[in-house]
Symmetry: C2
Subunit: 362 residues, 2 copies
């Protein structure tokens, strides 16, 4: 495994695997399977002292080091990472907010295509996640399962036949599996059906959150939908139920889009084309507004209202217009105000397909 | 004088003289001098019966007919004009709302360049107005005075040396002169100084109204400022005081623009360029929003932020995006919703400098 010094540079110049095209890309951005695992002979991170945290991390890193699949990946001790770089990893969905808490012993292993990330000593000893573009729970699950098997060769996971995998939080006990899908549901929002849909999935024991998971608000019509229960079902049953529920949500969004196109095409074109025009011309754009604009532009592309750009460009902008990314691109810490200006500039440049030679000073 | 059948067609294809360039065009759209006159041997229109109304109109039309200056002008009996056409004349500032009230005997004489309009039997027997582009009270007054002299040759105006000209409303008694200037004060609005400025001019016995005079709201940062008192001053004194007050307002707006450019250039560019982008791309635009967009675009042109269009185009759009104009252009009555779509289409076409071949159906 390489040291992480070149990792951020590499990431800045590449796009995460989970933003690559996949099935149902017009509605599903990405699919993720996460497995929670803990070592049998160590206490959960929340109760562990510094030495035990570091020892657990060493064990997990060593296990990964011995696996062929983890060649050319990065393994990072988070105490070596600056706050800005941690924020950068959060924006790329490679670590959670919780994982940036103070204290030695936290770590993360990241595959070079950013499709796999393994948080060490977050809530559990291991949080293994596999992300793929589009609606592809099946392959995400297969890949996660293979990685889990590989780790099991050298690590002794806390598992009892009656309970399944032990986890720090009881909601994860059993398979330790959580599947989640990032979906874009603008038409359900426009037609005001979104609350009904979210209530329905909540009755099915699913939960919808904002872009950055637990505790974050839905913005720009993006939702992360995941299963809540993990106990009492097999992994395959869980994956199947996630696929079923998401398929329904996708169908409802697709019907809502058709309905909007049929009964309010002009209104929709107006909103989409205004957003596209503003995204191409604004000089100051907050991160919240950027998400809202990009959501409408994405909808415009998906519905054929906007034809001169593709979703890859929009996906890229979703990531690079975020605060830490803007600062990594600028190669320095910049204020919120400066970020709003930089964000607008990057959107203009990306949409126009060319760099501007000089920038108006504020 | 020609019959008015060809008048609307002519107007649709030409721009009013008062939208032509003139001094201080960046802030002052147009200057207007209005004289109120009444015939000595007729009661004020409000008390006049139908026969007297028609007789007064005949006298005024005959007087105009005999004046060289009124060759090639239009003299119109308003009972012959449809509601839509009356609204069209209001939008071109050629008649007032009050002048569209029911009842026979109202009329208007309009010069072919629309620089002069004479309402007959509005509140007074004669409301003679001269409009010029930019800040040019002096020439507007000289032209109005010459027309007044010419009418005095054949009409016997109600005038007594102690009181001056008699008018239906006491506020006009004396000279019967009201000067007004249409100003664009976006920077005073942005810097929140506008109320202070309006309070100051109100203490000087001036009043600020919306674009269409009495009873209309200020929209798009446009204000019509006029003197309130007419009695006790000579015409020259009134014109001088209007010039002085407006000069101050113009200077304050100019200073406010410099201040905004200095301390908030980026914010200003952001607002201006967003407005320009929306004006070029929206599919549905209300008349209120059109004024707001055009106000910001005009400011952008005046400050050199927008360089690919000029104020003549914006002035044109101010007029043709109004409801009656949209319907005259469409050659039929159309609903408010259809007007919003047509308005957006015309703005897109004018700004892009070319006609779109086909229109998306709503």
């Amino acid at each position: 495994m390489s040291h992480y010094s070149d990792m951020f540079e590499h990431m800045l110049n590449s796009q995460s695997r989970w933003l690559m095209p996949g099935p149902d890309l017009d509605i599903v951005i990405s699919s993720r399977v996460r497995l929670a695992r803990n070592l049998r002979h160590a206490v959960f991170p929340h109760y562990a002292g510094r030495d035990m945290m570091i020892d657990v991390r060493r064990q997990v890193f060593d296990a990964a080091l011995n696996m062929d699949v983890f060649k050319n990946n990065w393994a990072i001790a988070l105490e070596d990472v600056s706050d800005l770089d941690k924020q950068f990893l959060i924006e790329r969905h490679l670590i959670s907010y919780e994982h940036t808490n103070d204290g030695d012993g936290r770590g993360v292993i990241i595959s070079s295509d950013e499709g796999v990330s393994i948080m060490v000593n977050e809530e559990d000893h291991i949080r293994l996640q596999v992300m793929l573009g589009g609606f592809d729970m099946e392959n995400a699950w297969l890949e996660a399962n293979a990685l889990d098997d590989a780790f099991s060769q050298s690590l002794d996971f806390a598992f009892t036949p009656d309970v399944g995998f032990h986890t720090a939080c009881p909601t994860n006990v059993g398979t330790g599996l959580r599947g989640s899908v990032m979906v874009h549901l603008p038409a359900l929002v426009i037609t005001k059906q979104i609350n009904k849909v979210l209530q329905t999935i909540s009755k099915l024991n699913f939960i919808a959150r904002g872009l950055y998971g637990e505790g974050t608000q839905a913005m720009g019509n993006f939702f992360q939908i995941s299963n809540q229960a993990s106990l009492g079902y097999s992994e395959e049953e869980l994956i199947d139920s996630i696929k079923r529920v998401i398929k329904q949500v996708v169908e409802q969004e697709r019907m809502a889009r058709e309905r909007v196109l049929k009964t309010g095409r002009m209104m929709l074109e107006d909103r989409v084309l205004r957003a596209y025009a503003v995204a191409q011309n604004a000089r100051i754009v907050s991160s919240k507004e950027a998400l809202e604009l990009l959501s409408l532009v994405r909808l415009g592309v998906d519905l054929g209202i906007i034809t001169d750009i593709d979703n890859a460009l929009i996906n890229d902008l979703f990531i690079i217009t975020q605060p830490a990314h803007l600062q990594k691109i600028s190669r320095r810490k910049i204020s919120s105000r400066q970020r709003d200006i930089k964000r607008a500039k990057i959107m203009r440049e990306k949409f126009s397909g060319e760099k501007e030679d000089n920038e108006t000073k504020s």
